[in-house]
Amino acid sequence: MNDKTVLELRGVSKSYPLGRLRVGALNDVNLSVQRGEFVALVGPSGSGKTTLLNLIGCLDLPDEGTIYLAGEEMQDASKRQRALIRGRHIGFIFQTFNLIPVLTAKENVEYPLILGGHYHRAKGSELKELRERPAKLLTELGLEEYINRKPDDMSGGQRQRVAIARSLVSKPDIVLADEPTANLDTKTSIEIMTLLLEFNRKHNSIFLLATHDPLVLDFARRVVTLVDGSVAKDEVTAETEVANVN
């Protein structure tokens, strides 16, 4: 693994219990993703995309194989350590946005910072920047007027933008998006994808998007195809612009 490789999966398998049987969801997956890559994860429904994102996101552990995040082996991390890794290094975007309905847009975006104890650890100008970050991020995403609104008062596209702000607020190394455009119309989907790509370029973080939306493929720099829990195809469709950034 060279030092640009932030994410590496070796021989990862995962199955779920189904009654007395077990359903294989992933079977011997090998994958390595470099800093700044913008990857689309495609495949038919049930091919294991969500399962793969969950494993990478430390929400679950593989039955077999190893996942390395920034060179660290995840297999041995405690529940608490994995929670901390999720809070500091990983951002999630969901198909159904999953905003907390009782909180305003700003509060939703702020939540990961509070859960991760970022406010406690920061001091001085750093703390000031942290406190201003949620509103700034929302403004950048064109949600200035919605900062103090609750999710119920927003459209799907606006909600997904809040969710994106929430996933990016702690400047994660990896952003995992599960069908981020599935509940959006084409116009909004293009807006959202443009935003994600912009952030990918700006922050150089890894983006992994599980999707079967062909639109997403237009934006992706690399497409990994899963079939029945195995990587069937892994092709670079455009030059990752990481090299151009630094």
């Binding site: 929400l59 679950d60 929670a83 999953n98 909180l103 509060e107 702020e110 509070i114 859960l115």
Partner: protein
Amino acid sequence: MLIKTGLRGVLRNKRRTLLTMLAISLALATLVLMNAFMDGTNHSMFEKIVENSGHIQLYAPGYYDESRTLPTDIAIGDLEATMETIGGIEGVVDSTAQIRFGGMVLHGGDDMGGFFIGVEPAGAARINNLDEKVIDGEYFADGDEDVCLVGKRMAELMKLEVGDPLTVVTQTAYGALTAMDFTVKGIVYTLNPMIDEGGLILDLEDVQRHLELPNAATAILVVGADMDSTIELRDRLLATLNPDGPPIIPEEGEIALTTAADDDLPLFAGDTTGGFEIPEDEVASPTRSGFEGYTWQELSATIIELTDFKNQAMDIIRGIMIILAAAMIANTMLTNVFERTREIGVLMAMGARGRQIISLFLTEAVFLGLLGSLVGVVLGAGVSLILAEVGIDMGSDVSSMISVPFDTVLYPLVEFTGIVQTFMLGVVMSLIAGLYPAVKAARLQPTKALRYL
């Protein structure tokens, strides 16, 4: 922020939250009301007891053990000097002497066993409020001789009315049979079943004369500054009254024989000269030197035990109410966790640790508990205070029914510490009830929680 989310979480399902809070509030309000009732009954009962008995009763040594037989030959002598001494002891507010004895009441061919007390009219009015207990006729007055007050029920049974004559047959302190005639001056209703059911109240001076107990009494009622610190006062009284240490109670059969001149202890009523000589040392004196003392708590030990038993029964009811309220909270919180499973998954994806999830849901439970408890105790205290103002008529036969001095109108007693305790109980209960749902939430598997629809 966690707290804010928690609070808003509570407000998510307003109807369920309201219902849960209502349950907590009602449970706590009932608890406060129950406590107020209990404290009210106990307080008024204890006040009635103290009104009857004073704070401390002093007897001649050995009297207490025999008190069921109402002995007149275990008496306190040299009463006037003794009363003066007692009055000078620190902490003594008031005192009065009594002679209690048993016998028969005869009237118009009817007869009935009775309990008789000779009281000092002024002292009994001050300490026992006896003058206020006269429901027909009048209380003792100066110049009265051989008049009596009759217990209400006894008056009914014996068909006694004010002005009627009656005869009391009893023994003198020396064991001689005697009959004395009294005129009914008043009917009393004291709430002391002993008196109301079969009691006569007489003037101590008349009793001393008839029972050959001049300047003597069988009991002295002492009242101190407050009804709680009675043991200290009793110890102080006995230390002064028994300067040579606790008196030795004579065994049966070795009753102390008087050695002093018996000039003022005539053998027969009205006989002051003595018909024939009886060797001085063979006359058993009814008075004994030395004192024993009992607090009202000791004297009413059975009633107090009964109260404790009643309190325990209440504790069980209290426990059940608390468990019901707790079950309600636990149920609401479980439903909450269940409904927000997906959100819990999202929180976990955002890096929430187990402890944070637990505190989020505990905050909600405690918030429910705090608000519910607050409303509950305010409601309970409010109702109690109103009832304390108005009073609750329990019907007039309660007293005789349970044969315990008991006011017929009950006034709930609202005590601040009790209310605070109940409030804390409510909050702590919510915390405990919320713990299981909160832990359950924290134990959710994140991927399963996220898949939950």
